[in-house]
Structure formats: structure tokens, C-alpha cells
Amino acid sequence: MSLRITDAPRSKDELAAAIAADIPAGAYVNLGIGQPTLVADHLRDDGGVVLHTENGMLHMGPAAHGDEIDPDLINAGKVPVTELPGASYFHHADSFAMMRGGHLDVCVLGAFQVSATGDLANWHTGADDAIPAVGGAMDLAVGARSVWVMMTLRTREGAPKLVPSCAYPLTGVACVDRVYTDVATFDLAEGAVTVTSLHGVARGELEALVEVPLRFA
């Protein structure tokens, strides 16, 4: 694998497209809630990727519109969705047994922070008055065979979100395999962080930004 370089940071849609392109044909995939669900819009129709939603469905289709909307058919973010041929429904214990038993090939999650060793923080800001809500995040973090994070590399305040050690409460320990950001993609394996693509930043800028030792593919 060689380092891919493009001139500009990736938009959310470009990032979603890049992730979609990396999902193997025929994979069973969970896209969590929020921004990662954009990945669905970029999957190739002939790739045979099957989407799982934690609330009990495989072969989930795109968002429902107009007359398609059925309050009994929603995704994990409670957005009305559709059903594709080959669909199946199952209850929550079965859905999470599927997740926790290692049957999903890939999940894509958002994050507040990811550590160099793959620790994930995406459920709790740690603020005293925050209302904690974990949903299925911890189950996905330990259950999926490959856990990919989709996030901007920096907070709004400019702080890096790829860190030596997470300051926020953890979702899972050493569970993240890959981090897709607007300016770079990182592979995490055995404690080493390898940059596999750069978008609108130079190597030196990236090294200066994150306080984590980097390798470059």
C-alpha cells in the first residue's frame, strides 16, 4: 500500500465515498447513527454490501420518502428506512448476539477521540451535567470484526481527536482498526499508526498536529 495524496481536505460526502469504496464486496456492515450513515449513499449497487441495523434488520435499504414512510420501519437513528430483497427481521437479543458474536464484517462509527492504540471514546463527554447515553456503541466497538471511525481530525477548537490517550470516557479498549478523517486516513495495528492517505495537509503538518508517532505507507 502506498500513500495516497490529494490537494484538499475531504468533504463529508467525499469521506463517506472513500469509506464506501473500501468496504469489501459482500460485507455485512453496520453504520451506527449520524454521519456514518452517509456511507450508505455511496455503496455500489453491485457490491452486495448488506446493511445491518441494531434494531433488528439485515438488508436495510435507503431512507424512506413520502408514501414509503412506515413508522414500524426505522434505523438505529430512528429515521424511516426501506427494505431490500433478502431482508430479515429479528429481535433485539438476536440482533446484538449477531453484533457481539463477531458476525459483522465492518462497522463505521463517529468519535470524540481515538487513541493511538485504538481506544475509542464516542459516547460521553465526561461533563458533569451530561446525560450519559450509550446505545449500541459499546456492543459495536467490541463486536464488529473491523471497527472504522469517521470523524474530522480536529475539534471545532482545533484540537486533534487522534490522541496518545483518550481524555473522554472510553467506549471500547483497543478496538479501532482504521480512522478516516477529512485530512488523512490512519491504519491502527499493534500500537502503530500508519497514515495511508493525506488530503490537503503535508506530512510535517500532520506530524505537528497530532501528538502521536506516525508512519507513512
Partner: protein, 219 residues
């Protein structure tokens, strides 16, 4: 033993006691037994522990039960939502207790209660805040948490249809927690779209066998 077809929702919930643990189906509003909850509000039981995936949406259903001040403690995976203002207010005012449980652990703990499992080891939550106070154990090189069964006194679930044997079928993702909650409660009450004649459900497609259902009431 046997299933009781109730005349209305009020009859179905008439004997819920103060202090009960009530398992309430639904993921958001899909599969939420709203009419049973409304009847429970009229019935008046209080000091309840409610187990449900969310802590109420908008102002109806579970949110209305919370707003009526009947719930002492919520056990759920995801209380914080864009429309969970009722719970948010009660929580910030210190008027409700919260136990946050990872969604898969929540479902599996109820399955364990229904299946005679005294406890189980799972990886979810290891090394996180939600592991605090829980036993950890290494088995064959992997670290697990010990999780305990979560039984209910009553379960309120919603299903698409029932037959007179109490068998239930669901609709799409509204199935969610219904089948597992039905196994975990001493008394399971199903709010259903219709009650069909004996033999009206395909035995191969029954999701919740009638043995888990004590009462049904149709819309």
C-alpha cells in the same frame, strides 16, 4: 397458564402494583405499547422502575408516564435524544434515577432472566465507566464482564397480531425488544393490532409463543 383476552387496556393493567419493575417494549416509538402506558397512567401505580431502550420521546407514551411522576428509576441504553425533554428535565432536577446499560447487554440480561441463566460473561463495556462495580474475568485470554439477569414484574409489549393461544407476530423493526421482554417478566401484556382466530397464524412464523403471554388486548 393460558392467555386472557382483555376487554380493554384498563382491564389489562388493573393489577400493576406500586414499586413494580415494568419492562416496556419499543425502540423510540416503533413497538411502543402506547395505549397500555396510557392506561397505566390512569391506573395510578407509582414508584416504578421502568426498563426500556429509551427514556421517552416527545410528550406521549413513556414520556407521559415519566411526566406524571410515576417512575423512580429508568434502566435504559439511550436516554438522551433530541426529543427526550421530559426525561432530561427530571434527570437534571434529580427527580429520577438512571442506570445506563449498553443496548446489547440490556437485551441479553433480559434474555438471561427468561432463560434461567444466573449470569453471563460478555466483552461489552470492559475498560469503560460502565464496568465499574462489575466483576471482570479472563477466560481463554479474553477479558469479560459478569452481567446479571434483569427480570421484570410486568412487561408491556406491542405486537402486530395475536391468536387465541397468545402467539404473537410483529411488524418489521417494531419487533425489537418485545420478544425478549415477553420471556423476562412474570406477567406479559401484549397490545396487538388484532386477535385472529385459532390457527390464524402460521406456526412456522410465530415469533413469541403463547407460553410467554399472559394477556392480550387489541387496539
Amino acid at each position: 397458564m393460558g392467555v386472557q383476552v382483555c376487554a380493554d387496556h384498563d382491564e389489562a393493567v388493573a393489577d400493576v402494583r406500586d414499586g413494580s419493575t415494568v419492562l416496556i417494549g419499543g425502540f423510540g416509538l416503533a413497538g411502543m405499547p402506547t395505549r397500555l402506558i396510557d392506561a397505566l397512567i390512569r391506573q395510578g401505580a407509582r414508584d416504578l422502575t421502568v426498563v426500556s431502550n429509551n427514556a421517552g420521546n416527545g410528550d406521549t407514551g413513556l414520556a407521559a408516564l415519566l411526566d406524571a411522576g410515576r417512575v423512580r428509576r429508568m434502566i435504559c441504553s439511550f436516554p438522551r435524544q433530541h426529543d427526550s425533554h421530559v426525561f432530561d428535565r427530571l434527570y437534571r432536577a434529580g427527580e429520577i434515577e438512571l442506570e445506563v446499560v449498553p443496548q446489547g447487554t440490556l437485551a441479553e440480561r433480559m434474555r438471561a432472566a427468561g432463560a434461567g441463566i444466573g449470569g453471563f460473561y460478555c466483552r461489552t463495556g470492559v475498560g469503560t465507566l460502565l464496568a465499574e462495580g462489575k466483576e471482570t474475568r479472563e477466560i481463554d485470554g479474553t477479558t469479560y464482564l459478569l452481567e446479571k439477569p434483569l427480570p421484570g414484574d410486568i412487561a408491556f409489549i406491542k405486537a402486530h397480531a395475536a391468536d387465541h393461544a397468545g402467539n404473537l407476530v410483529y411488524r418489521k423493526t417494531a419487533r425489537n425488544f418485545g420478544p425478549v421482554m415477553a420471556t423476562a417478566a412474570r406477567c406479559t401484556i401484549a397490545e396487538v393490532g388484532e386477535v385472529v382466530a385459532p390457527g390464524g397464524l402460521d406456526p412456522e412464523a410465530v415469533v413469541t409463543p403463547g407460553i410467554y403471554v399472559d394477556r392480550v388486548v387489541s387496539a
